[in-house]
């Protein structure tokens, strides 16, 4: 985006995916990121649930932003977010009880995910519905991307599979710790190092060309 120009729709979308990725840049939503990224299936399910809640709550917050008094805006946003989380909770039990039970308490805990309230307060309550939708979609997909990055590495190392498809032969020795919470920290640290190295390399290249 050129300096001084208003951000385009694509800028709003891409910022959540990369430039302001909620996990790798803003370090938000760490609790589900570390706990529910032990494999790709859980990461996808959690990412889809959080993205749905994020998009719907951002759209509703943007729609009602002019009629909600500022003194009760946070309480109202929480009511809106909790409504969509409860709906997701029921729908998840309806679609797959096994997956619902695997994700456990982390579905109801989407209510307190800082990314969702953060986007409602920082963006949706100051922008129109279309911009809020694009921003929330970008952030939701950015969160899902981060969960998949962690879930992919952890599932490969902990079980030698991707989406339960076996990648290695019978001699593969699973690295059990990667399926445990400690493995989540190791993997997150490694991805943060990698993405920061990429960002610095890009900055150095830009400096060199100037």
């Amino acid at each position: 985006m050129a300096q001084g120009n208003p951000p385009t729709t694509m800028d709003e979308f891409v910022k959540g995916l990369w430039r302001e990725n909620p996990v790798f840049v803003m370090l938000l939503g760490m609790c589900p990121t570390l706990a529910v990224s032990s494999n790709v299936q859980y990461a996808l399910a959690m990412g889809a649930c959080a993205t749905f809640v994020l998009v719907m709550s951002s759209v509703v917050v943007s729609l009602i932003r002019k009629i909600v008094p500022k003194e009760v805006r946070i309480a109202t946003f929480i009511v809106v977010i909790a409504t969509f989380v409860t709906m997701v909770d029921y729908v998840m039990q309806y679609l797959s009880l096994a997956l619902y039970q695997a994700l456990g308490a982390f579905i109801p805990l989407i209510v307190v995910n800082c990314i969702i309230l953060g986007r409602a307060e920082a963006f949706a309550c100051r922008n129109n519905v279309w911009k809020s939708f694009i921003d929330a979609l970008g952030m939701g997909l950015g969160f899902t991307f981060a969960l998949l990055c962690l879930g992919g590495v952890r599932e490969i190392l902990a079980s030698g599979t991707i989406l339960n498809f076996r990648l290695f032969g019978p001699n593969y020795e699973p690295w059990g710790v990667m399926g445990l919470p400690a493995g989540g920290f190791f993997t997150l640290g490694a991805w943060l190092l990698f993405f920061n190295w990429l960002r610095e390399r890009r900055a150095r290249k830009l400096q060199a060309t100037e």
Partner: protein, 238 residues
């Protein structure tokens, strides 16, 4: 500020009625939406839970090919449908092999865990007085820690017999048949020394102890009743 009039100050005050109306209105809408979704998904969720229960009965009774639900009554067991909705009815499930012989009895149990109530089911073989299996039906325990009570092979080995060990949890009765000879006990990982002990999971002690509690609470009355009225359960598949 000195130049602000009382009227201007009054305008700056938040309007309580407006706030109550907005918050109340959104809460009402929220309740309506949640009610609608809960109502729309209720039948499907109930069906999923029933399927899960059916699967769990066969999981905790290895070798069973058919099952029969029984209502627990003071004078024994009465065959009922697995989805019998009678409120407060306590049920057990008999599992039968291909010849119709009783393989074991599946018993539902529950106890408070780390996050919420854990519901589980275990299989019991009245012939040898030991468990045949264990499965978690509902749990909100911490993923990666507490939820291992339903996944960890070493923990599940407390209940499932294997090729190398038939020494599953012992639920033997006293000589008069009125109660368990030994209450189920918790043992730290690697320190199990008695057949009535459950070897817990390191890092998930509260969840492991909840399993011990649910087995004690859920077995003290039902196991003597099973032995006293075994004939009713053996006839179940006929």
């Amino acid at each position: 500020m000195s130049n602000s009039t009382p009227a201007a100050q009054k305008v700056d005050q938040p309007n309580s009625l407006h706030m109550i109306a907005v918050l109340g209105g959104f809460s009402f809408l929220s309740g309506f939406l949640i009610f609608f979704v809960a109502h729309a998904t209720e039948a499907g969720i109930k069906q999923n839970r029933l399927e899960q229960l059916r699967g769990a009965v066969f999981q905790v009774l290895p070798g069973a090919v058919s099952s029969q639900a029984f209502a627990v009554e003071s004078d024994g067991f009465r065959p009922v449908e697995i989805d019998d909705p009678t409120p407060g009815m306590k049920k057990v499930y008999g599992g039968y092999d291909e010849s119709g012989a009783l393989v074991g009895v599946a018993i539902e149990v529950a106890a408070q865990g780390y996050q919420d109530v854990i519901r589980a089911i275990y299989g019991y073989d009245p012939g040898i007085g030991r468990t045949l299996g264990f499965a978690v039906l509902q749990s909100s325990e911490t993923p990666g820690l507490g939820d291992l009570i339903g996944k960890d092979p070493e923990f599940l080995a407390n209940f499932f017999a294997s090729e190398t060990s038939q020494d599953t949890l012992s639920l033997e009765l006293t000589a008069d048949g009125l109660g368990l000879a030994h209450a189920v006990e918790f043992a730290k990982s690697g320190e199990k020394s008695k057949p009535w002990q459950i070897e817990g999971i390191s890092g998930a002690t509260i969840s492991s102890k909840a399993v011990v509690r649910m087995l004690n609470d859920g077995s003290q009355e039902i196991i003597p009743l099973i032995h006293a009225h075994l004939g009713q359960l053996q006839k179940g598949s006929s």
